[in-house]
């Protein structure tokens, strides 16, 4: 640590950033192992159903499963295009379904 470092303000706490990122990714990866990997298929089928009614961008749908205690939350987020065929706008609808794990 040199004279400049001594007077420079401390950078933000990167260890807590690391811990938070790890907490999320580790929980996600633990939840994935040993379970049927149905999320990609679920995503595609939901997209097909939605497409029957609204023309959505294939990338506009996002699915996560999060575990909270002993219940799991399936989070589904779809960005709907604007009415009258205008280019997709970031209008976001979030549907959450909770159930026992």
């Amino acid at each position: 640590m040199g004279i400049l470092d001594f007077f420079r303000s401390r950078p933000k706490n990167t260890a807590s950033v690391a811990k938070e990122r790890l907490r999320i990714i580790v929980a996600q990866e633990r939840a994935q192992t040993g379970r049927p990997d149905y999320l990609p298929l679920l995503r595609r089928e939901i997209l097909e159903v939605i497409k029957k009614y609204v023309n959505v961008d294939p990338d506009a749908i996002d699915i996560h499963v999060e575990r909270d205690g002993d219940s799991e939350v399936l989070e589904l987020s779809v960005a709907l295009p604007e009415r009258n065929g205008a280019p997709p706008a970031p209008t976001e609808t979030t549907t959450a379904a909770a159930g026992e794990a």
């Binding site: 640590m1 040199g2 004279i3 001594f6 401390r10 950078p11 933000k12 706490n13 990167t14 260890a15 807590s16 690391a18 811990k19 990122r21 790890l22 907490r23 990714i25 580790v26 990866e29 633990r30 192992t33 040993g34």
Partner: protein, 300 residues
């Protein structure tokens, strides 16, 4: 249900803390304990750890074999300082090209310590589950107290065979995101892809060994601390090895760092071995050393 007769040998161990159930106690026939040193990520200190744990246990009078599972990239022989005495290796024994006795290299410092080198010329497919099992069985029959399996990095064949027969696992982790994430993958494999898991013989005991720990950076908020890593991985801490120049000088010389009792890393490994043998020791080297005002201004 209340009248059901229990055969004591079939009663599942409850989750109550049974003190020292895994440790050889007087009156119990000594069993061979197979310990895998693993990590997922490379370069975190598996071989350094394997060498120091093996030496530490041998120093306590235990009969120890340490096996290098990194076929094609052997290094345990160098760290142990016996690289010029390797004639036969692990793969030769598996393929019955020599006897186990011929391949075991006796340590020059401790009579009860033996090294089994990995093959440098074959590829990782030269290992088979049956072959590894045969060698471990023979070591067990020879009355070894501990067999330390030094795993290669990754999650492929060498690594999966190194962990398959383990009773206990020492997961070596650096306080850094990729190492912690990979270790969590390894913990998942330890609880599903091991003989204990497959036969339902109870879980492989898992311990966290943090290496390259820098207390100053932890204090400064730039490195995750032992409690952070422990919280994420959720396993017991066997030891914290501080980052120390002694580790490099030890590997330069082929003398496992645990034999350097001046170096903080050597002392921390000594503590880890004591905990592995069932002793309770406080964690050392977790606190940043106080720097004087001048040292902070003019650099150290």
């Amino acid at each position: 249900m209340e009248n059901e007769q229990h055969d004591p040998s079939h009663v599942e161990t409850p989750s109550l803390p049974v003190p020292d159930s895994s440790l050889p106690s007087p009156g119990r026939t000594p069993l061979t304990e197979i310990i895998v040193v693993t990590s997922g990520k490379g370069g975190v200190g598996k071989t350094t750890t394997s060498a120091s744990l093996a030496v530490g246990l041998a120093k306590r009078g235990k009969k120890v074999a340490v096996i290098d599972f990194d076929v094609g990239l052997r290094n345990l022989d160098l760290i142990m300082g016996c690289e010029r005495r390797v004639v036969y290796d692990f793969v030769n024994v598996i393929h019955e090209e020599c006897t186990l006795k011929q391949a075991l290299i006796k340590d020059k410092r401790f009579d009860t310590l033996f090294v089994l080198a990995a093959s440098q010329t074959r590829d990782k497919d030269a290992l088979s589950k049956e072959g590894v099992e045969k060698v471990l069985k023979e070591l067990t029959d020879e009355g070894f107290d501990y067999i330390i399996c030094d795993s290669p990095a990754g999650i492929e064949k060498g690594a999966s065979l190194a962990m398959y027969f383990a009773d206990r696992a020492v997961v070596v982790v650096n306080p850094e995101v990729s190492s912690v994430r990979d270790s969590d993958r390894i913990l998942g494999l330890l609880s599903s892809k091991t003989r204990r898991a497959e036969l339902g013989n109870g879980p492989v005991e898992q311990y966290l060994l943090l290496t390259r720990y820098n207390p100053e950076r932890v204090a400064g908020g730039d490195m995750m601390g032992v409690d952070d890593v422990k919280e994420i991985l959720g396993i017991e801490v066997l030891g914290v090895i501080p980052e120390s120049p002694g580790v490099l000088t030890a590997s330069n010389a082929g003398v496992p760092v645990i034999l350097d009792d001046i170096s903080p890393a050597g002392q921390a490994y000594e503590d880890a071995v004591a905990r592995l043998a069932g002793e309770t020791r406080p964690m050392r080297f977790l606190e940043a050393q106080k720097k004087g005002f001048l040292a902070r201004i003019f650099g150290s």
